[in-house]
């Protein structure tokens, strides 16, 4: 039922995931970082759905459902944090936001 070989789908997921990871690591705009994280989440979601289909089991989709919920909440809270941060620090530059510097 799966139209393309599973490894290809998985490789595609990996590609998206690592693009997202690279985005987290190379960008200093915190908004782009959040978007990159969403990319990574999506890549993982697709992996789960792929396995769900490949293993003939819907539990993978259940997991994706919950992940989507958590991701929604996460972005809500994360963006709230960004706003709060921006309000106190007047920046969204991650290099400037180093309150935990030891």
């Amino acid at each position: 039922m799966i139209p393309v070989p599973v490894p290809v789908i998985l490789s595609f997921c990996a590609a998206i995931f690592f693009i997202g990871l690279a985005g987290v690591l190379i960008r200093r705009n915190i908004l782009v970082v959040i978007m990159s994280i969403e990319l990574m989440l999506n890549a993982v979601n697709l992996t789960l759905v792929t396995f769900s289909a490949a293993l003939d089991h819907p539990h993978g989709q259940m997991a994706v459902f919950f992940i989507i919920v958590v991701a929604a909440v996460e972005s809500a809270v994360g963006l709230g944090l960004v706003i709060a941060l921006f309000r106190t620090m007047r920046t969204v530059d991650t290099d400037q936001i180093q309150l935990l510097k030891g």
């Binding site: 799966i2 139209p3 393309v4 599973v6 490894p7 998985l10 490789s11 990996a14 590609a15 998206i16 693009i19 990871l21 690279a22 985005g23 690591l25 190379i26 960008r27 200093r28 705009n29 908004l31 782009v32 978007m35 969403e38 990319l39 999506n42 979601n45 697709l46 759905v49 792929t50 289909a53 490949a54 293993l55 003939d56 089991h57 819907p58 989709q61 259940m62 994706v64 459902f65 989507i68 919920v69 958590v70 991701a71 929604a72 909440v73 972005s75 809500a76 809270v77 963006l79 709230g80 944090l81 960004v82 706003i83 709060a84 921006f86 106190t88 007047r90 920046t91 969204v92 290099d95």
Partner: protein, 179 residues
């Protein structure tokens, strides 16, 4: 090659291309819009893989709710801040990160090609899903039986998220002088 496969490759190329735009484009607003397109591509792939509910949720939640939120924030911050025009991280970190990502990606691709990932078939082959009334019905059934508690907890999580984000984003009565 089946039409599904063709569509899959189409969506996959789109997703990769737009995610690259998302990550690389200076302007976050452009990035956000490319991200919407990535989400739509993902939704298409979900549909191709038979996960129709997930595809719907992807469109509604990601491409709808989350993106709207993001764009709002971008516009909110963009309005009074020139500092959104960001540079990138330190070049060593960037180079090392890209090298690391590339290496790991290569490793995964290699692993997926050579690994044996499917020990046994599952309980719900497509015929059985069709007998049960389609994947949406099956998922919904599972959600209210086996996954009831997590489902209910999810509502609490969302509630906490709402309260949290409101509290955070609310303009506080900050004492002057504190940066």
């Amino acid at each position: 090659m089946s039409p599904e496969a063709i569509f899959f490759y189409l969506f996959a190329v789109m997703a990769v291309a737009f995610s690259l735009v998302t990550v690389l484009k200076r302007n976050p607003a452009v990035g956000a819009f490319s991200l919407v397109l990535v989400f739509f591509s993902f939704a298409g792939i979900y549909a191709i893989l038979g996960a129709h509910l997930v595809a719907a949720l992807q469109v509604v939640v990601y491409a709808g709710a989350i993106m709207v939120l993001l764009i709002f924030v971008i516009m909110l911050l963009n309005a009074d801040s020139p500092s959104l025009d960001m540079d990138r991280t330190h070049w060593t970190l960037r180079a090392l990160s890209l090298a690391g990502c590339a290496t790991l990606f290569a490793f995964f691709v290699w692993a997926f090609q050579n690994g044996s990932l499917f020990p046994q078939p599952g309980q719900f082959p497509p015929q059985r899903v069709a007998e049960l009334g389609g994947s949406t019905k099956l998922i919904s059934y599972l959600m209210f039986t086996e996954y009831l508690y997590p489902f209910e907890v999810t509502s609490a999580l969302i509630l906490a998220g709402i309260v949290g984000s409101v509290t955070l984003a609310k303009r506080q009565k900050v004492k002057r002088g504190k940066a």
